[in-house]
Symmetry: C2
Subunit: 181 residues, 2 copies
Amino acid sequence: MGEIREPLRELTECGLPMALEVMGERWSFMILRASFNGLHHFEEFLSELGIARNILSNRLGRLVEHGILGRQPMAEDRRKIEYRLTDKGMDLLPAMIALRQWGQKYGAEVVENPVLVDERDRLPIGPVSILSQEGRILGPEDLALVERANVGKRADGSQAEPVAPVSRGDTAIADGLRGAA
Amino acid sequence: MGEIREPLRELTECGLPMALEVMGERWSFMILRASFNGLHHFEEFLSELGIARNILSNRLGRLVEHGILGRQPMAEDRRKIEYRLTDKGMDLLPAMIALRQWGQKYGAEVVENPVLVDERDRLPIGPVSILSQEGRILGPEDLALVERANVGKRADGSQAEPVAPVSRGDTAIADGLRGAA
DNA sequence: GCAACTGGTTGCATAATGCAACTGGCTTTT
DNA sequence: AAAAGCCAGTTGCATTATGCAACCAGTTGC
């Protein structure tokens, strides 16, 4: 089982290649989803996903290796092994859900059941979004690529300073009414 | 070039399998990133990514086929063909950036250059986030999976009604001070 | 016309994936 | 304590994807 494959141009100065090293493989995201959906055992993944036995074994091994899944034999039945998402694995949720939503948007008649909802009001979640540091929702036109040295330098020459970025748990939205009409 | 491969369990009632059908292949995301970064031509992708010629040809073909890239010969030099992200392709940005950020977070010494910034203040963007319909930033604990029929039914029995969801361009953040101390 | 450029394709080697059958540790049944 | 069954994983073999190098066709510049 050689590791000879070229490591996807790691030099390319961004985290994508590293992320794809693990998650770019067929089934990785499906296993992640299944895991998030509450599956924890080999045979569960096997029958739920319809993946080949040896591949599942291999993928689970790699996911564990990369710290995305934790693996431990269960106390009451030591034949059974429990795979569980680590924090590192949980951090893949935005990527997974973004992909999912994209597939849903363009994927003809996908009905989504069960539905992923906000625990608080049990309504479907909104779209996974790119945010500015202050939490504005950004679209493709709002993005730019600048040299590391020029970060914060505005067109008018003034220098923007970083603010305390938003983070999870923040009430994110709305200093004004939104969209709608 | 058979299409015999099992279509990744499409039945699984969510958009992921469909999304992975195209983007789950090696190089797809790297090509997307390159395309977003301003590359538009075969030879550019070739030398920038270090991908094999035939594979690049194949991947570009598939991405075009799936409407993620547009393809057209250029007017002034009809040897040259221009590949350009479609809106459908642009909609993959959150997924791509989320993956990238994840890779960055866990990928040792990745320095990211050039840096992806908010056009407005030219500061680095924040993390790609899962939002509720009203724009609250949600973490894994805030998520639940419920049967389609039970959407909106809260634990106390009351029924939540959908609100106008947030959308791009919205000022998203903050009705209270954030994190920090 | 001829060389060079651009975007392919083809042939062949290697790696990844899939299927089916088998192993090895553990648990339950008898 | 055998026997049978379950769970996770491995092995052998076929198919598919990927990579490398060489070749091809339409354009362009000279």
